[in-house]
């Protein structure tokens, strides 16, 4: 093994305790409906974080849970809800009735969130775009500013750079230094990791550095950007991690049905977050038959690439 590397492997509990203090701006759910770091979000809830700003394109129902738990004072996202089921009831209660607390919403689109993170990743104050021209999003989001192009006659929107304090990115495999392989749909994960001050990589598997180095094209987050590495198998359930497990669609629909009212959310949250101290305990409660049904039924390996010379 070459180079001087030190292990960044720590527990989820420690990673959240050390790197996600109250008041942080946190990027979660960078890969949209897949690979959502639910285990990290649940640990943030258990540790009682407050006044977080959540950043992400959609994050499916994770944002709803964190809002319901009272962790959040502001959401900067394109969409907050439950993708295959519909609305997020905690999000609605918070925005409409300040339950459990009032939250500020900064409404983006998927493209403007991507460009905000891209601007920060590029180290520039904004990125130009045509999207949102004529919309009420442009009028109500102070991070979207109309301007006249300096090189032609067009009007454009400047999307202000967004630099999260910490990005939590779920990946398939990483080495102990944080060099991470991820595949499937990438969403805003690459720019999100580059834009953020700290990066927590949550990996299904920890592998030897040689495995990562064998395919540097797939090393989408280089280890030197990574602050902490957490080994958390099934850390994205009920979302999918391709090559490891599928999406637990029913889990999303059960959450939707059971959290229409506040007391329903509290029961759900006690059962699946408060009363399960770790992801291992969560998986035990989920039960092997259900977890087993989600595992890969038929592998579909890509052809190896040759880095030989």
């Amino acid at each position: 093994m070459m180079g001087i590397t030190s292990s960044k492997l720590i527990s989820m509990q420690q990673a959240i305790a050390e790197h996600v203090p109250s008041g942080s701006m946190v990027l979660l759910g960078a890969q949209l409906e897949a690979m959502i770091p639910f285990a990290a979000g649940h640990e943030i809830i258990r540790q009682g974080r407050r006044d977080l700003t959540l950043v992400g394109p959609i994050s499916d129902m994770l944002f709803d849970q964190m809002i319901g738990a009272g962790c959040v004072s502001r959401v900067m996202a394109a969409w907050v809800g439950n993708v295959s089921a519909g609305m997020g009831y905690c999000f609605r209660r918070a925005v409409e009735r300040s339950i459990p607390r009032a939250i500020e919403t900064v409404d983006h689109t998927n493209l403007t969130i991507a460009l905000a993170l891209h601007a920060a990743a590029m180290g520039v104050p904004f990125m130009p775009t045509y999207t949102t021209l004529g919309s009420d999003l442009l009028k109500r989001n102070a991070n979207l500013c109309e301007f006249h192009s300096p090189v032609n006659e067009e009007r454009l929107v400047a999307v202000r750079a967004l630099r999260p304090d910490v990005a939590v990115v779920q990946v398939q495999r990483a080495d102990a230094s944080g060099n991470a392989h991820l595949w499937g749909n990438l969403g805003v994960a690459i720019d999100g990791a580059r834009a953020s001050r700290k990066v927590i990589v949550v990996a299904e598997e920890i592998v030897a550095p040689e495995v990562i180095a064998s395919d540097p094209n797939r090393t989408l987050i280089p280890g030197f950007l990574v602050t902490a590495v957490v080994h958390e198998p099934c850390g994205a359930h009920p979302s999918s991690v391709i090559g490891y497990y599928g999406r637990d669609h029913a889990f999303f629909h059960e959450y939707h049905d059971q959290t229409r009212e506040l007391d329903g959310f509290e029961r759900w949250s006690n059962r699946w977050i408060a009363e399960v101290p770790s992801r291992a305990a969560y998986l035990q409660q989920l039960g092997e038959p259900r977890a087993g049904n989600l595992r890969v039924r038929e592998h579909a390996f890509s052809a190896p690439v040759d880095f030989g010379f």
Partner: protein, 263 residues
């Protein structure tokens, strides 16, 4: 809700959702680049691919591009069957960049509200005069701003087809012809069709929606009384074609439990 009841022979053969899926599929022409979106359009894309538009390419804002249809029902665009054998898996900007270049022919959207000029609201709704916070844009505003043609699918009620949306999440024709250009939105972009549970609306030169076809068994009066403004009706008003057996077979194969296409 089953359509075709009045015509007897077709009763319960297909649902309104089936009809909408097939109408949506017809908006996809062979060889086009399609921003597929969620729910019924995910099925419509597969129907189009396997019937009249085998050369269509599907783009998904999560970073996926496909020139073959997914083999299983999708609940979300990031589900493993949508990644397996995709033509491309990358990041959001690699897909959105093609959209912003103007290379995407048609994009599909849902909405809580659509108005007479095709503006969409997915941010704020209301029930019993109380505001309801909806999930927001996702990629809808991007698609409505940047794709050559936008096709909207929604339930046809007076609450959803309104004279003026309370909040423009995704711009249509604004206040009429010329508005998009005035806002700086790209030329050759804008709303093309609104496929509802009762019919299909299209847009005239003035930027205003008109009723282009009614679904089988639906009367024009039904449509007008369920629309929140005085909807214009095409002189050559058509009846939306029924789904044929080939299209229905694809839908049944993809959604055997009728998760998306029951009603």
């Amino acid at each position: 809700m089953t359509t075709g009841v009045q015509s007897g022979a077709t009763a319960s053969r297909f649902s309104r959702s089936d009809l909408m899926v097939v109408a949506a599929a017809r908006e996809i022409h062979d060889g086009e680049m399609v921003f597929v979106g969620m729910r019924l359009p995910m099925i419509a894309f597969v129907v189009a691919k396997r019937t009249h538009a085998p050369g269509a390419v599907g783009l998904f804002e999560n970073g996926v591009m496909r020139d073959t249809p997914a083999s299983e029902l999708l609940y979300t665009m990031s589900d493993p069957p949508n990644l397996l054998k995709a033509s491309y898996c990358g990041d959001m900007l690699s897909v959105m960049s093609l959209l912003q270049q103007g290379r995407v022919n048609v994009g599909f959207l849902g909405a809580a509200e659509v108005d007479r000029f095709g503006n969409l609201n997915t941010t704020w709704g209301s029930r019993d005069a109380q505001p309801i916070r909806l999930p927001g844009s996702g990629g809808a505003c991007d698609i409505a701003s940047l794709s050559q043609r936008t096709v909207v699918l929604l339930e046809h009620t007076r609450q959803r087809l309104v004279s003026r949306v309370g909040h423009i999440t995704s711009p249509g024709n604004g206040t009429g012809n010329g508005w998009r250009r005035g806002q700086g939105l790209p030329l050759r972009s804008g709303p093309s069709a609104v496929i509802t549970t009762m019919g299909v609306l299209r847009f005239g030169e003035d930027g205003e929606a008109y009723l282009a076809s009614v679904h089988p068994g639906v009367s024009v009066e039904d449509v007008l009384s369920n629309t929140g403004w005085t909807l214009k009706v095409a002189e050559d008003l058509a009846v939306t074609p029924e789904p044929d057996a080939a299209a229905l077979a694809v839908i049944r194969e993809l959604d055997p439990n009728r998760f998306w296409t029951k009603s």
